[in-house]
């Protein structure tokens, strides 16, 4: 109780200094949270990218339907494969006619069906790498019933590159930002606590135990951190409601930005941890 009173007293005696510090912790947590949300969204976006990759397997003209079915299930059992879809050449022609009709082509002049049976293979997104995909394609090409394999080629490379690059990029940037933010919070509490040095000296000389000396400061640090986090949260909510809100209606595309449900509740918690941690480090090992 006394510690809490001391902490509140200390905060209120120099309220503006403390409010400024809370605001700055709030601002920095807000930045961190925005960056994390951005990284998270990029991650989420890229995670879906490779699933859209498909490989077209063209079968030899002389492949029998049962052979084709066998091949289909063989491919399906591969680890890397998400789904397979057999397209007979009759169906392909049908599709094509429909397609070209719209596109102002007339294919009525075609004699014999010039198309091939194909298997449309869709690959799994998670856990697959460019290397794995290439190996899989080589394997397909080696199969007897397979005439040719068509796939993104350079595209596969660059999509995986983008995906992993963005992951590495996002995680590095995110971590560096997070470290910076942690440091700034620590620094804020540290500088704020500097003016307490004389006070701590007096406490010691009067015979206060370490616990007695520390507790008001830990409480003060925690309060500053929690308030900072809460300010950051309000800031984020205000921004996301008014700015993004407007953005969403004007540019519907942005409604695809996804903020994990109520995740911003984590800001006061982070503020608390950082404020308390900052206080602990700032006070350091008390020595008599």
């Amino acid at each position: 109780m006394f510690s809490l009173r001391m902490a509140l007293n200390s905060i209120f005696r120099e309220i503006w200094l403390n409010v400024i510090s809370m605001l700055s912790i709030g601002a920095v947590l807000f930045i961190l949270f925005s960056v994390v949300i951005a990284v998270y969204n990029v991650e989420k976006l890229t995670a879906t990218l490779p699933e859209k990759l498909s490989v077209m397997v063209f079968l030899r003209e002389d492949t029998r339907r049962d052979e084709a079915r066998a091949l289909e299930s063989a491919i399906k059992s591969e680890n890397i494969v998400k789904s397979v879809n057999f397209i007979s050449k009759e169906k392909a022609l049908q599709d094509m006619k429909g397609f070209f009709k719209n596109e102002k082509f007339a294919l009525s002049g075609l004699g014999e069906n010039p198309l091939f049976d194909t298997i449309d293979v869709r690959l799994k997104g998670a856990g697959s790498s460019a290397k794995g995909v290439n190996a899989f394609i080589e394997k397909l090409k080696g199969m007897s019933a397979v005439d040719d394999v068509e796939y993104g080629g350079a595209l596969v490379e660059s999509v995986y590159s983008l995906k992993n690059g963005l992951r590495v990029f996002g995680l590095t940037t995110g971590s560096i930002f997070a470290l910076s933010v942690i440091f700034i919070c620590y620094s804020t509490v540290r500088v704020l606590f500097y003016r307490h040095e004389e006070e701590i000296e007096i406490y010691k000389l009067l015979g206060a135990t370490k616990g007695f000396i520390r507790s008001p400061f830990f409480i003060e640090g925690s309060i500053i951190g929690i308030m900072g986090g809460a300010i950051g949260m309000c800031f984020f909510l205000a921004i996301s409601r008014y700015v993004f809100g407007k953005l969403f209606t004007e540019f519907p595309l942005f409604s695809m930005i996804y903020v994990p449900d109520r995740s911003f509740y984590i800001l006061p918690v982070m503020g608390f941890v950082l404020g308390l941690g900052g206080a602990v480090i700032a006070l350091g090992r008390l020595k008599y």
């Binding site: 006394f2 007293n9 200390s10 005696r13 120099e14 006070e199 000296e201 007096i202 406490y203 010691k204 000389l205 009067l206 015979g207 206060a208 135990t209 370490k210 007695f212 020595k287 008599y288």
Partner: protein, 220 residues
């Protein structure tokens, strides 16, 4: 109660104390005097463990100060009431809280704290200043608050460093009366002062420091 044996303390380019030996008995009230820079405050700092001696042995309230760990130091300090020459008041706390701190540190109940603090404030004549902040007090008022804080915890040893430097004769006499009262109740008291009025014709022992050396000890 207080024993020094061959104690020396040096700062970078200066001997603050040189081979000082003295002994103050339990329940005694004694004085330390000497010119400015003689080492009086340094002696006190050694006694309340703010500094460690470079040489010699110090024992206070039954503790050998050389062999104390971090858990016994605060305990020992709570047995010593110190009137600091530079007051060392918490400027962000009221007079009441400054004095109460000495009791809160001792985990005294809030109700008892209220009683005791009010009593010592009355004793030093500053009851009406309980809610004031130190920086709004006059020099002499601050000094009396410091004295009140030192005595409120009823320590077994009291060290008072120039306790009347900012006080007029009436207040000075009042404070000395309080010290005698406490001393009569059994507290060992050591007072450092230039003010001869405090110890002349008291029949108390006075130690003379000069340039860090104990040059004389006499009963006045």
């Amino acid at each position: 109660m207080i024993v020094l044996e061959g104690v020396s303390k040096r700062y970078e380019n200066q001997d603050a104390l040189k081979d000082v030996s003295l002994r103050i008995e339990k329940g005694e009230m004694a004085f330390v005097t000497g010119p400015s820079g003689a080492g009086k405050t340094t002696l006190f700092k050694l006694l309340y463990l703010a500094e460690a001696p470079d040489e010699g042995l110090i024992s206070i309230a039954g503790f050998n100060t050389a062999s104390l760990d971090d858990s016994t130091i605060p305990m020992l300090r709570r047995n010593i009431g110190v009137v600091f020459q530079d007051f060392k008041l918490l400027n962000n706390n009221t007079v009441f809280d400054n004095i109460a701190l000495a009791l809160r540190i001792r985990r005294v109940m809030e109700r008892e704290i209220k009683e005791k603090v009010t009593a010592v404030l009355k004793l030093v004549g500053l009851r009406h200043k309980a809610d004031a902040y130190p920086l709004t007090l006059s020099g002499g008022e601050q000094q009396r608050i410091t004295i009140a804080r030192a005595i409120v915890g009823e320590p077994t040893v009291m060290l008072a460093d120039e306790p009347t430097g900012n006080l007029d004769i009436e207040n000075e006499e009042g404070i000395m009366k309080i010290f005698k009262l406490i001393n009569n109740k059994g507290t060992t008291i050591l007072i450092a002062s230039h003010n001869r009025r405090l110890f002349d014709n008291t029949g108390r022992r006075v130690f003379y420091l000069d340039g860090g050396q104990l040059v004389k000890a006499e009963v006045r």
